[in-house]
Structure formats: C-alpha cells, structure tokens
C-alpha cells in the first residue's frame, strides 16, 4: 500500500488516547530499577576524581574485607578476562585517506583515567549501602596529568591517547572547496560568524540502570537495561566486546524513562554487569545516581565553528564555508564520530538553494565525558550555525529575517544539495507563510512598543530548519563508515481469533508506539485498535531491531510493519479467495472485509484468521497454514521534516532576564498518524531546544577538568514556568520514499528552536549595540553582553 491510500484509512490522523498511559498513571510501570530478582547483589562504580591521571596502584584489600562485599573488579581483571574495549560504530576516514584515530575504550581503566567519572573499579555487595561504603575503601593512587576540556585547546595539550597524536581524531570535509572559494571571490557581501554550540547533559528523567543476570543451567545471560535499542546493545556486546554467542544473551529494555540519545550506546557498566553476573553467579543491579549520570552519560553538542556566507547584490546566497572543531570527549562513544560529520555537515544546505557549500570538520579528544548523539544529533548544530548566519546576514543587509529566507528557499523537488543529500519533498514558502500568520507577525510592532513602554526590549527571531531522519540506506551508510545496518524489522502475528500482536524492533521510551503503531496495524486490517498490542524492547521476543533514535521509528519501523502487513494481506486474500471460490486477483480488502469484485460475496477478516489456523477448508497444497509475517525494511533515503519557527523574547536590560514571550512552530512531518502524540513530541523538543538557548550548559573547570554543573542544583533544567504556551501548526507534503508518507517528529523541536531564540535575543539587543552572543542566554550572560556593548 502506498502513502496516499494509507493516509485515507480510518484511525490515521486521529488523536487516539494512549494505550500505555494506564500503567504509567497508576504506578504500574516497569522500569529497570523496579525489577527485583532473587539472589540480587548491587554494584557501585569507583570513578576517577581526576580529569587526567596515570593510575599508580589500586588497593582493593580494605574494600574486599568490608561487610557484604562479593567482589571488587578492576582494569587488570578485565584484561585477564580478555574483554575488549567498547567499539565505535562509525569509522570516519580522514581527508588524508587514513582511518580516524581510534584509541581503545576500556570498560574499566587500564592504567590511565581520562575524565572525571571514568570507570576505575566495580564493587559488588549484598546491599547497595554496603557497596557504596566499600567503594569508599578502594584505594587508588593517581599521578595527575594536565587536563584539557576546551576543544580549541586540545591540539596543544597533553595527549590523552598514544593512538591519537595532538588529541586529533580526524579531519573530514565535504563539498567543492575550489568552487566555494571562487564564489566567495565574486560575492557582493560576505557575512562571517564565530559560534559555540554549548555542551548539554541529556538528563532523561530515569537515570540509566541495568541488571546483569546469568543462568548456569542454560548458560544464558539476561541484561535488563534502560536502553533505546536492545538488539544493537546485544550485537555490540557479544560480537565486539565479550565474544559471547549471541543466542545465549537476551537484552531486555523494559519501560524506559526517556532516552534522548543518551541510552543508545553500549556503556561500560552494561558490559561489567553482564561479565560479572557469570563470574560471581549472582544477579547484579546497578542504578545510576543523577550526579553519576552527569559525569558518565554521553553528553551532546560542544562544537566551536567559524562560518562564512557569500551573498550576491540581490541577497541571494552564493556559497557557504564552514570550519568546525568538534569535541568528542575522552573516548569514542558508539556513534560519536558520525554526529559532527554525516549528521551535521550534510544538513548545512538547509532550506536554501545555495549553489556551493564546503564544510571541514576537525574532531578532538579532551578530558571530558564522551560526546555523542543527543536529541537531534548533528542537525541542531547545523541548524544553529546556518540559521544564525542567515539572520546575521539579514541584519547586516537591512533585510527582514523572513525576506532573506524566502528569497533563498528551494522550490523545486526532488532537490540535490551540494552536500550529498537529496530532498524528496517540501514546501518551505508554505511553512514560512503559515508561521508568519500563526505568529501574528503583523502585530509584532505593537507588541514591541508595548514591551518598550514597560522598559523591556522585545526581539523576534526566525529559524527555518530542515533535518534528516531515518538514516539510510544501509549500503550507502556502510560506504560512509557505518558499522551497522540501518533497517528495521517488524513481525505481525495474527491470532486465530483475529486479534494481533505486533513485534517491532523500534523501541518506545515515551514516544507512544504502543498507540501509534497499533493505529497503523488496526487501520490496515480494519480491526479495532484495542485488538492490537505492540511488543518491543526484548531480544527474546522481537526477531531483530535497530531501535529508536534519529526520529526513525514510524518511518522505518512503521514501514517494516507496512511490509509485513502487505504480506499478511496477500496471504489472507488467497485464503479468502479459496473460501469464496474466487480467483486471488478478484479479491478486494477494505474495512476489515474481503469481497469478490462485482459480487456481494464477502467475509470478515476474523473468518480468514480463524481459517488460517483451523485449515479444514483450506488450500493446503498451495498455502501454508497460519497468519504470521515478518518483514525487514531498509529505506532508500532519509526523510526530511522541515519547519519555520518564530520566537519573540522580552529582555529586561536592567537584569538581563530573558523571557520567551511567544513561540510559533510550523512543521511539515508529512503524514501524521496521531496528532496528539506528534504535538507532544514538538512541545518536548521545543523545551529542550529553548532550554539549550536559555539555560542549559555543561561547564568543566578549565584547569582541573572538574564538572562544575554536576547536579540539578548546578545544571539548569527547564521548568514549567520558563515557557509560554506554544502555538503549533502543520503543513503536509508526504514523504515519497516510504509507504506511510511520514517524516518523523521526535527531534524537530530541539533542532529548530535554539537559533530562533538567539536570533530573537540579538534582534532585541541590537538597539543597545550587542552584535554577537553565544548560548545560553542566562540573565548573567545577557547582562554582561549589554554592559560590554555599552563600554
């Protein structure tokens, strides 16, 4: 079935309430820390208090003698057990043609620690309190080395890894440099901008947690883990790290309390628990404290960039030239290397028909937590850079922010960008016009005057983003260095009485798949949504899966279900044809009924389902019994959600307090299956993006490498009273490369919003002379910028 027929089915576009809500609302959710196994012990990790140090000695004897202690394991134990380091899932090839520098990433430090929070030892004890107390008794003697946290100083600082001279991981580039340089030579105007994309802590509300479990009788491991992609976790852990047979390891990601990227990766703790569960023959639980999460969850962003935009005399963009230094942290996290390259530089054409784009990226190691994908993963960094420089160009040229964008929008599709992507559809003018109307652009001067009357500075900021979801296809990604496939798997199991259980490789950790995916299946089969249940997050039940990240679930996981449903429908039609004594080609299926073309003969879906499992009147010579189909779907292209966001801020120049007073978001997500869930995704994304722009910031001390923002007391999390009501609108150009027409909505808000906020801040501060500003717009930083402009 194609996208246009699909969008007309019942339930598609209906704001159905969520099937999963009852358990969450009544305290019956089942998160990893809620699971209690017999024979359980508790693990606590001894972490490095230093950003960079050689380990001179580890004395475990006092800890081992402490009450309740079962084991204390450290780096030498890992070496003895022949457990490899954590793998990086994406090999970037340096512009020199050599592979990137890829130092080992041991699960427990092997002679050296490289960031505050690096894993030194694991203490296992009968109770959590005993484990915590014993962890204090592990004596580690360190020889402290100089640390570097700022990506711009990585090159000249003490090397973290012997394998990475100058702390350099790779230099990578995309685009036609000579053509870009030529375009700059002929430009009427060049806008230049330096900017920093601030480092963020993902902070899903459920901290990471895991339970390692081993069954000696069956020689099987089970790892319960708060994770976004259990099959990938299992594959990486068994094949690359532990050398275990994959069929002997089951990974269960039960209810997961948010991910935002931080729970994609294979972490050291997961491997340690799995390994030790057999070694100690005990179940072992680890639950991450929030302070520990700040130190050890993969962080997001942390780019330092220089950008230049060449413009002709009419305001048309000629070329964009970018250099970015990307901070990868101390080790290569699972997909870290793809974020500032494949997922970033390819998005720098944006919504604009800029003929030439050239992007060069240097990636560096520093003494900080590993940096990896965080809600948006590369696309927010690209959007922030591009949308900031476009607004700056408008300010310099005396154009309005919407006019300069509209003048340069791509209008013909499909569109091949100069940085590898091919956009299938879009209508960027429609998004801009809708946003201007919904955001009441006409009323802005009056609102600005009203703010001024209160002594406040009001500014307006635009951001017209495009992003890429459902990273694909596997063979192209493989050619670019991906070490994993990027398909998805789905199984549709029709039961004899016509109800359905669906097994999907996508994973829901808040996105509502149990409802949206059920809508898709119910719509296709013409059965009530209540008759469809979704199973996910268990390698023991779901055939295979790549999980949920990059807003891929509906467009890739949903498409896999569509393929499985095509197979179900094709087989069911044959059964129906037999029952109604008609040819296969004469059978129609609609609204849950099979009918014979041109007759009034029809039978319901339930009858066909029952016949498949009670095959008495059945073409057994031609058709297997049963109605259970699995499909793997590998997309032919990314999907390309796009939108225009408009932010209005009010700034008190006396205090620097910056308030987002009005925020308008108009997105094109293609076909929308459940608008209630989609709007919820946008709200959440906006708050994370506006949070980055206004308040969130991971700060390491430049001398010691200590994390200064290591708790909710120090790292500002967005709260309910930081925001106005958002105005949300949609345009729809269905995606042409998947059978649903969907584009993905999970990250758009976080991608599009930061530059809209900062452009608004700069518009507001223009009258007091502030020309440049880096996130976050905290009162102190805004006040300082105002004072500096006055001086």
């Amino acid at each position: 079935m194609g996208a246009s027929d699909f969008s007309k089915l019942p339930h598609i576009g209906e704001a159905l309430l969520r099937k999963e809500d009852y358990r969450f609302l009544t305290g019956a959710g089942n998160y990893t820390d809620d699971i209690r196994l017999d024979n359980m012990t508790h693990a606590v990790f001894v972490r490095s208090p230093h950003a960079h140090a050689n380990i001179k000695s580890i004395n475990k004897s006092a800890a081992l003698a402490a009450p309740g202690v079962v084991a204390v394991l450290d780096g030498p134990d890992v070496v003895d057990a022949k457990i490899n380091g954590l793998p990086c899932g994406w090999l970037i090839t340096d512009t020199s043609g050599k592979p990137m520098n890829e130092p080992p990433h041991p699960i427990l430090a092997n002679g050296k620690v490289r960031y505050v929070g690096d894993h030194v030892a694991m203490v296992v004890a009968e109770t959590l309190e005993q484990a915590k107390n014993a962890a204090e008794l592990v004596e580690v003697e360190y020889d402290v080395l100089p640390a570097v946290v700022d990506v711009r100083q990585a090159k000249t600082s003490t090397a973290l890894h012997a394998e990475a001279p100058d702390n350099h991981c790779y230099n990578w580039a995309i685009g036609d440099k000579a053509a870009v340089d030529a375009a700059f030579a002929n430009a009427a105007h060049v806008t230049k901008l330096d900017l920093i994309n601030n480092r963020l802590a993902p902070n899903p509300m459920e901290p990471r947690a895991a339970i390692g479990s081993y069954n000696r009788a069956s020689d099987e491991y089970t790892l319960y883990v708060s994770n976004q992609n259990p099959h990938v976790e299992r594959l990486l852990m068994t094949a690359f790290v532990m050398g275990l047979p994959e069929h002997k390891v089951r990974v269960i990601a039960p209810d997961v309390g948010g991910g935002f990227g931080a729970k994609i990766y294979l972490y050291a703790e997961d491997v340690c628990l799995t390994w030790a569960s057999k070694k100690l023959n005990r179940n072992i639980k680890w639950n991450c404290d929030r302070s520990e999460a700040f130190l050890s969850d993969a962080h997001g962003r942390d780019h330092s960039s220089h950008a230049e935009l060449a413009i002709d005399k009419d305001g048309k963009f000629l070329a964009l030239r970018v250099h970015t230094d990307a901070n990868l942290g101390a080790y290569l996290s699972t997909f870290s290397t793809a974020v500032p390259t494949i997922l970033y530089a390819t998005l720098l054409a944006g919504q604009y028909a800029t003929p030439q784009v050239y992007v060069e990226v240097d990636a560096w190691f520093t003494n900080t937590a590993p940096v990896d994908a965080y809600r948006g993963a590369g696309r927010p960094e690209a959007t922030y850079l591009l949308e900031r420089i476009v607004s700056r160009a408008a300010f310099e040229l005396g154009m309005t922010q919407d006019a300069i964008r509209s003048k340069n929008f791509i209008t013909q599709f499909p569109y091949q960008t100069p940085v590898a992507l091919q956009y299938d559809t879009g209508d960027f003018h429609a998004l801009m016009n809708h946003a201007n109307k919904l955001g009441d652009l006409a009323g802005f001067p009056a609102r600005k005057a009203a703010s001024a009357a209160k002594g406040l500075l009001r500014g307006i900021g635009y951001s017209s983003y495009i992003e890429a979801c459902g990273l694909a296809p596997s063979n192209v990604a493989g050619a670019l260095g991906a070490r994993a496939g990027l398909f998805e798997c789905g199984e549709v199991r029709v039961h004899p009485t016509g109800s359905v259980t669906v097994f999907t490789g996508s994973h829901s950790h808040g996105q509502g798949h149990e409802t949206t995916f059920a809508q898709v299946v119910a719509a296709r089969l013409g059965i009530p949504v209540e008759n469809v249940d979704i199973v996910h997050g268990d390698t023991g039940r779901v055939p295979f899966g790549m999980g949920t990240y990059g807003s891929r679930s509906i467009s890739v996981g949903g498409a896999a279900l569509m393929r499985a449903l095509d197979k179900i429908e094709a087989k069911a039609k044959k059964i129906a044809a037999h029952l109604m004594e008609a040819g296969d080609a004469d059978i129609d299926f609609a609204n849950g009924e099979f009918s014979v073309k041109g007759t009034d003969k029809k039978i319901p879906f339930g009858t066909v389902a029952l016949t498949a499992y009670v095959p008495h009147n059945y073409p057994l010579d031609k058709l297997e019994p049963g109605l259970n189909e699995t499909a793997f779907y590998d997309p032919t292209n990314f999907t390309f959600p796009a939108g225009t966001y408009i932010c209005e801020v009010e700034i008190d120049p006396q205090t620097g307090v910056t308030k987002v007073d009005k925020f308008t978001a108009v997105d094109d997500f293609g076909t929308i299956i459940n608008p209630m869930i989609v709007e919820g995704q946008v709200h959440g994304g906006l708050v994370q993006g506006i949070g980055q722009a206004l308040m969130e910031n991971c700060v390491y001390d430049k001398e010691t490498g200590q994390l200064l923002t290591g708790s909710f007391m120090d790292y500002t999390m967005p709260r309910a009273d930081d925001f106005p009501q958002f105005a949300i609108g949609h345009e729809c150009t269905p995606c042409t490369t998947n059978p649903l027409g969907t584009k993905g909505c999970g990250e758009a808000g976080a991608i599009g919003s930061p530059p809209a906020v900062i452009n608004a801040v700069l518009d507001a501060l223009a009258p007091v002379g502030v020309k440049d500003f880096d996130m976050p717009a905290t009162p102190h930083r805004v006040w300082e910028a105002i004072q500096a402009a006055k001086a």
Binding site: T26, G27, E206, G258, N287, D721
Partner: protein, 155 residues
C-alpha cells in the same frame, strides 16, 4: 527501628534503619515502585507522595519522620475497581505524560495543587509545578491536565 504508618489506607510496620529515606521504605520495603527516584538533590519531584494530605518529596524525608503518618502513593490514587482518580484521567486525556517516569510525582503534586489552589491561573500552575521536572512533555500538556483535573475534582 519499627516505623508504623498507614500507606494507601493500610497499616504497615517497616523495619527501617535510622538513615532509611521514606522513598526507600516505599520502594524497597513495601515494593511500591510507582514512586520514582530521578535525582539525588531533591530537585526533580519524581518521588512526590502525600504525607498527611500534603505533597512531600519522599527522598527528602526519613522513614522515621513518617512515624504515625498517613502516606498516599500513586498506587493509592485509583479506586478499588481500577477507575483512575480524576487527575490521573486528566493526564491521560490531555496527553500529559510521555515516558511516564516523572508522572507519578507530577500527579501527586497536581492533586496537591488542585486541593490547595483550586482557582490557580495557568501561570500560577506553572509556578506551582516548579518542584517537578519533566524532560519529555515540555509541560504544556501537564499544565492543561492540572487545569482539567482541578476542574474535575471540584465537580
């Protein structure tokens, strides 16, 4: 030490160490795992329960301090037949939850807000939710749910 409490209407006696937090007694001793722990600095509010009718962060109170108290957790909010409390129903109807982790604490705070500030405006509700963090919803639908649940509780 033995601590006597009434939890969700039932009398219980918990053998708690002097440093056992109320949230630990609820989760570990009484297996009421609906109350969650989302931080270690009493900031996130995922552990919010009612103690003697008021919303309290159960990570910030010792079990011993709950001696003789009436404690209500998220498990005690629905009716015996499983029908949700009007505030729980409002969260579902308004899509005021996504991953569900902050939700028990949010609902417990929301009921407290509705009781103590039945006529709170939208901006007042936003301020009253200061003690509860949510990373998924962007709060907009939570605020809507508190308004709708508040109205339903009055009815």
């Amino acid at each position: 030490m033995q601590v006597q409490m009434k939890v969700n209407g039932k009398s219980v006696s918990v053998d708690a160490a002097p440093n056992t937090l109320l949230v630990q007694a609820l989760r570990e001793h009484l297996k009421l795992t609906g109350t969650h722990v989302g931080c270690d600095t009493a900031q996130c509010g995922a552990c919010t329960v009612h103690v003697n009718g008021r919303a309290v962060k159960s990570c910030n109170m010792l079990t011993a301090q709950a001696q003789g108290a009436e404690v209500t957790t998220i498990e005690g909010m629905a009716q015996a037949d499983g029908t949700m409390h009007p505030m729980q129903a409002a969260f579902k109807e308004c899509h005021g939850l996504q991953c569900g982790f902050c939700t028990p604490g949010m609902v417990m705070s929301a009921v407290d807000i509705a009781k103590r500030h039945p006529n709170a405006s939208e901006s007042e509700i936003r301020e009253l939710l200061e003690g509860n963090l949510c990373r998924c919803t962007g709060y907009q639908n939570i605020v809507k749910a508190v308004q709708q649940g508040s109205a339903a509780m009055k009815a």
